[in-house]
């Protein structure tokens, strides 16, 4: 128990002193996860809306794949992305392995099915009559899409939270494709694994506390945005 207390004290000290290494690690965690979530948002909302609003051959199969993708083990994603990014692999020429960009790629693969799946489900649950009504009022296709997305912004923000939560707390893929390199690709989760391995549990708990605080702050912001729209 005293270790948890020591860890909390240590977390407090690291934050108060603005420890440069901690800031760097926490900053990279945030930057990488937010970039990955944003990229997944653009791709996922587009794909999710398209799949949610259209009917085509093989749609059910595709939806089942996306739903399975929501539960893909990050470590499998990490392994496959590593092999693709190897110097001898198909994407080796890009020299991305063991860089923050590699972590962003892996995290996009992890969060894309989550955001696509959520978008698809929320677009589909909008009453089809509403679509007819909007079109009847003379809206263009783009206006229709925009209004539908506005209508589903509550579940969409839930999608953002789920996607962001999945990637910032993810460790297996970040460790494999990033390599946990000091000052380059060390993020909060991989640093926690490393400090636990070294037996420095207090520092591991301190970093864990900082990670949870960051996740809370980001989700608090998203929740304010989400719930504000409901109050009106």
């Amino acid at each position: 128990m005293d270790l948890i207390w020591q860890g909390l004290v240590r977390a407090f000290q690291l934050i108060i002193h603005g420890d440069p290494a901690m800031l760097r690690i926490a900053g990279l965690s945030l930057a990488v996860s937010i970039s990955a979530t944003l990229i997944s948002l653009v791709l996922g909302i587009t794909a999710g809306t398209a799949i949610g609003l259209t009917r085509f051959f093989g749609r059910r199969f595709l939806v089942s794949l996306i739903n399975t993708g929501m539960g893909t083990p990050p470590v499998v994603v990490g392994l496959i992305v590593t092999i693709l990014l190897w110097r001898s692999g198909p994407l080796g020429v890009l020299h991305l392995l063991y860089t923050p960009a590699a972590i962003v790629i892996a995290q996009c693969v992890i969060s894309l099915p989550i955001i696509t799946g959520f978008t698809m489900a929320s677009v589909q649950q909008v009453d089809p009559k509403l679509r007819l009504q909007i079109l009847a009022l003379g809206a263009s296709r783009m206006q229709l899409l925009w209004l539908l997305l506005r209508e589903t912004r509550l579940p969409l923000l839930a999608a953002v939270m789920a996607g962001f939560g999945a990637v910032i707390s993810e460790v297996g893929a970040a460790m494999m494709v990033g390599g946990n390199i000091t000052g380059q690709t060390r993020v909060l989760t991989t640093a926690i694994v490393m400090e636990t391995g070294k037996g420095d549990f207090a520092l591991a708990i301190a970093l864990g506390t900082i990670l949870m605080a960051l996740v809370y702050l980001v989700n608090l912001c998203l929740t304010i945005i989400q719930q504000r729209s409901r109050a009106r």
């Binding site: 690690i25 945030l30 636990t196 391995g197 960051l214 702050l217 980001v218 912001c221």
Partner: protein, 329 residues
């Protein structure tokens, strides 16, 4: 259609005494966005790529000098063992190397087995490993060039102070292993094809015991630090390099029970991956690192590393010695 409740709310909002409702609402609405931006920019701003790379541990860091030379291909991938990372040696040495040569090292801390597999595939440029038998095979297969002695320390057999197998003070590692097996005391194995794992498997073979599948023989598949923690929790025995044990012992309920057997020597070599394997291998960077680690100044640093905090050095430098002097391969 608007419900009365809504219009009431709207009405209430607009009848503010000071007439400052709109800007305040706008600010409140923008607050989460501002917070998010501040959080990202504020923290990310602290991590500009040009900043020196500090470490969370108390190891010394060297700020790169602006006069660093600029190599054509600055990225060097170093595949190494968990022990060099867990002791903090890499965190101390790499900034020195980077500021001296201008190379940027990506150290991948894995077991020696995996490090050599990465080298074999051409996915690493230079290796710092401690698994002599596997290294000799690696060299004979033509995967590496210029294998050089770097440093050594000794493996120790650690276990609980209660010592149920009664091996305390034994100087023969093989006899100690025989007693652990006879007592069926729990032994934790790395099982990850690391240098430590290879040494442990070799000791069991020399003791004429096959521990695989025995209930007292448990395999973690993890690095040395994690394996020591598990061993401590289970009050079991394990084989560890002395450096990682010294670094982590303050958190462990384990003591050194058997040490000093000459066969427990733990030798680290640096190997440059054969550049003929692939044009993508950074041969110049690998050579620069190999030269750096056997450089007298680096070797002197290794000889004192750990003394200030742990009373003894983690590693004994060996550059320039012959294998015969150390009694190894």
């Amino acid at each position: 259609m608007k419900f009365p409740v809504d219009s009431h709310r709207e009405g209430k909002r607009r009848t503010d005494v000071f007439g400052k409702q709109r800007p305040r609402v706008a600010l409140f609405r923008a607050l989460p966005v501002i917070l998010l931006l501040a959080l990202t920019l504020g923290i990310a701003g602290c991590s500009s790529p040009n900043a020196p790379t500090p470490t969370l541990s108390l190891t010394p860091t060297v700020t790169p000098t602006p006069t660093s030379p600029k190599p054509a291909n600055p990225e060097v991938i170093l595949a190494t063992t968990t022990s060099t990372a867990d002791t903090g040696l890499l965190d101390a040495l790499l900034p020195m190397f980077e500021s001296k040569t201008g190379y940027k090292v990506k150290p991948i801390a894995v077991g020696s087995g995996q490090a050599m597999t990465l080298g074999e595939r051409g996915e690493a440029d230079v290796l710092l490993v401690h698994s002599p038998d596997a290294e000799v095979a690696f060299m004979q297969a033509g995967h590496g060039i210029n294998r050089k002695l770097v440093m050594h320390n000794y493996f120790v057999i650690v276990g609980p102070a209660t010592d149920p197998a009664r091996i305390k003070g034994m100087t023969s590692a093989i006899d100690a292993f025989k007693k652990i097996a006879a007592a069926k005391a729990i032994f934790i194995s790395r099982g990850d094809k690391s240098g430590t794992d290879a040494m442990e498997k070799g000791l069991w073979a020399q003791a004429g015991i096959n521990p695989e599948g025995q209930s007292w023989y448990q395999v973690t598949g993890q690095g040395m630090g994690a394996t020591l923690t598990i061993t401590s929790e289970k009050q079991a025995y394990t084989l560890s390099d002395r450096g990682t044990y010294l670094k982590t012992k303050q958190n462990l309920g384990l003591t050194v029970l058997a040490e000093g057997d000459p066969i427990l020597i733990n030798v680290y070599h640096v190997i440059q991956v054969n550049p003929q394997k692939s044009t993508k291998i950074n041969a110049d960077g690998a050579k620069a690192f190999s030269d750096f680690i056997v450089d007298p100044a680096t070797q002197k640093f290794i000889s004192t590393f750990g003394v200030d905090q742990y009373g003894q050095a983690f590693f004994i430098p060996d550059a320039g010695k012959t294998e015969a002097e150390l009694g190894t391969k």
